[in-house]
Symmetry: C2
Subunit: 208 residues, 2 copies
């Protein structure tokens, strides 16, 4: 085992450190975030900083960097109050990655990257037609992180669109069956295979 201390990490070349630190914390929740501005121009961007905040009521959090390419997503969320999360499937992860490119203002990543906007009644943020697990959120809280000037955005799930065959009897959503991908670092996309679903752990379970 090699040991690195903070001084070593801070001495890494910048891109090396970004890649290193983004991949070391484990596989991440990957979603395409879709928004629209007041002129109805859509935006689509991949995010991997999604995390579960609560189930009742349902809340999901995500992190925005101060200098990130995701400025337009945050501006649209603050302006419209709504945004959608759409899963990245194995058959289009390359197109999803391409949404992170900087396209000219006023041009939508939906069109540039080959995705289709899908709308539901009384909700102005677009969903991604090609996804099969989609969440429509309403902005609830923007929390500043003082130590590095990032922002945590928390939304409440208002709408869910999904293939019903992905829902198990106990409410579990089968992400492998959905062909959802996960990401490590900023550019390494993975498919998954189930090892097992385990019972609620009790102190008297036999040691595995």
């Amino acid at each position: 085992m090699k040991q690195f201390d903070l001084a070593d990490i801070l001495a890494f070349e910048q891109r090396y450190r970004t890649t290193f630190m983004n991949s070391i914390s484990g596989f991440k929740s990957l979603q395409m975030v879709a928004t629209a501005n007041k002129n109805g121009i859509s935006n689509l961007a991949v995010f991997s900083s999604i995390f579960h905040v609560g189930a009742n009521p349902p809340y999901i959090g995500m992190v925005f960097r101060p200098d990130g390419a995701e400025h337009e997503t945050l501006a649209n969320i603050l302006e419209s109050g709504v945004y959608t999360l759409n899963n990245v499937r194995t058959d289009f992860y390359e197109a999803a990655h391409q949404t992170s490119a900087r396209y000219p203002a006023g041009e939508s990543e939906f069109k540039h990257c080959g995705f289709t906007e899908e709308y539901i009644a009384d909700y102005i943020a677009p969903f991604v037609k090609e996804s099969n697990i989609k969440l429509g959120l309403a902005l609830k809280e923007v929390i500043p992180v003082n130590i590095n000037n990032t922002k945590i955005v928390i939304g409440q799930v208002q709408h869910i669109l999904l293939d019903e065959e992905l829902v198990s009897e106990d409410g579990y959503i089968d992400l492998a069956k959905a062909q959802s991908t996960t990401v490590a670092g900023l550019d390494a996309y993975y498919q998954t295979a189930l090892l097992g679903r385990l019972k609620y752990a009790k102190a008297d379970n036999i040691k595995s």
Copy 2:
């Protein structure tokens, strides 16, 4: 596509909703969090609410529920100011899951679940010997989430222990080679396979 709205979600049976909402947001960063109290008694618990906050300096966040089984972990972090994140590998995910059981106060999950404490100089939180990617953090910020009384804890990475063969030339940590697992919901453990690493996306890339 089936549509569920907030009223439908709130009307779900409670355990069904917990399982549903915990799995729908995608695969999650899975880590065993290890701490020690002032008497040197260790604690070990699996968490899936880990997220990247920054690379320079390196920050990682995690969510604590107000009523969770993870009270002792948070108490130890607040008391000692330090904690470790240790990856869950395919060959011991069942033992890692078992750390979520409630053991009597003063008894360590390390012993009950078959893990080995590992220490480095001048750092009082234990690492998990069986893991091959381990991060030693120092508490930097505790952020209350007002809407549902959870807490977001942000730590700075002070120490890293890892197999050097997992680090690629550009700093990427090969999580599949490490046999790191990911989790969906609260109990579904997955292994992964790389689909591909993609280039930094530019607007003039050919559409995939």
